[in-house]
Amino acid sequence: MYGFEALTFNIHGGYLEAIVRGHRAGLLTTADYNNLCQCENLDDIKMHLSATKYGSYLQNEPSPLHTTTIVEKCTLKLVDDYKHMLCQATEPMSTFLEYIRYGHMIDNVVLIVTGTLHERDVQELLEKCHPLGMFDSIATLAVAQNMRELYRLVLVDTPLAPYFSECLTSEDLDDMNIEIMRNTLYKAYLEDFYKFCQKIGGATSEIMSDLLAFEADRRAVNITINSIGTELTREDRKKLYSNFGLLYPYGHEELAICEDIDQVRGVMEKYPPYQAIFSKMSYGESQMLDKAFYEEEVRRLCLAFEQQFHYAVFFAYMRLREQEIRNLMWISECVAQNQKSRIHDSVVYMF
């Protein structure tokens, strides 16, 4: 019952919620990012990070550091936090935490299939996969020739199986079909997650509906922009949009017929939350759109912490950590390549 969750939430979720709020206190602040931006080389970055929660993960790395090592070790911290919370969680929180991984599983599947298509080595691809999205039979994905085989050999045993009903075709896998597969899977995953949160009810469903609706709308805009000028037909494009969110259904009708960025902007400016995002960019410019969306997402994720006794804090923490790792990757790359003037282009500050 909405409003009375405070009475019973702490039976199963009190300890874990307190732990995740403790982790949130360890996220890097603007002051930390400013220090990192002043660094001259990767060893300086390692020294600054040793004062944060990442310290124990980076301290044993030998001196010629690579940016990929920094990102890998920071991701390891994220995975450790996640696994610690998952093993202590009970239903329905454990199902909720599992849902957070499915997005990464989808990305890993697409990574391996694309890599195999381009004749890359399976071991090399496995090392690039996100650790949160690993599952047992992932290496067998390299063997499949088309989607039906992909499903029958590997994916039917994974949690992604129910998401495949809409994209089982016998067509061969090529770049276009793989992207369509990725987006169809992600659409099914978001809808499933949305329904699950509605079933939990209460504050969780209210906050997660907002966060997932933003995610769905953001993906709709990105799909539209990326498919301008390709062979994707309007009906196919419309099939990739999720059936919830602020833009559903009228915004999707309009986005499906857009042919360039200014038309997209025209559609989005009718919705007040997105008008604020698009008004920050001048006409014809789309590079800043990603950063504007990330900033809006971070703002909403930070707001999720304002309420107590719900599960959305776990989702918000995972997403904020991922954003932080993206920031660290960008800063490390800029420092390693001596392009410090471009650091502020892509760092999203959180607190």
Binding site: A6, L7, N10, I11, Y15, A18, I19, R21, G22, Q308
Partner: protein, 179 residues
């Protein structure tokens, strides 16, 4: 009057009136201690689970935040005190006078006192527990918030005290008929 009782001999009013006042008194005493302890325990687990989790990243909060647990515990102590007071109010009356209005009144007074104290302490314990949980989490992030949230908790714990005061006043007039 027993005449009035005879007129309603086959109605619900008669059934209620013929329940022994000692039953009502005993149930009142049981509720006063039982439900108070329920409230205290509920509050303690709500605040305790958050306190333990938050203390992992911020160990400094443990000693100060035990105050929340102490406020919840006080609620249980109120229940015990009132139960002891109420049981001293129980006196024997001869069976001829057991269903007199005087003794019914005494039985109902003890029952009501028990309910008042029990349920006031239940909600007080819940209130203090939930605030204590938020207090622990906020203190872990920003230690200046602790004292301010403690003020809210103090107001919350006053609710149990109101219940105890009214309950004791109710039970003070539980006088059984003299022999």
């Amino acid at each position: 009057m027993s005449g009035a009782a005879a007129i309603h001999a086959s109605s619900w009013a008669a059934a209620l009136v013929r329940i022994s006042p000692y039953t009502f008194s005993a149930i009142g005493i049981a509720i006063s201690i039982g439900v108070s302890v329920l409230g205290a325990a509920w509050g303690i687990y709500i605040t305790g689970s958050s306190l333990i989790g938050a203390a992992i990243e911020a160990p400094r909060i443990t000693s100060k935040n035990l105050i929340s647990v102490i406020f919840c515990e006080a609620v249980a102590i109120y229940g015990v005190i009132v139960a002891i007071i109420l049981q001293t109010k129980l006196e024997s009356v001869p069976s001829s006078k057991m269903y007199d209005p005087e003794s019914l009144r005494a039985g109902y007074a003890i029952f009501a006192s028990g309910i008042i104290v029990g349920f006031a302490n239940l909600v007080c314990g819940l209130c203090v527990g939930i605030i204590g949980s938020s207090c622990a989490l906020s203190d872990a992030q920003n230690s200046t918030l602790f004292v301010k949230i403690l003020v809210i908790e103090i107001f919350g714990s006053a609710l149990g005290l109101f219940g105890v005061i009214v309950g004791i006043i109710m039970s003070a007039q539980a006088t059984w008929p003299t022999k």
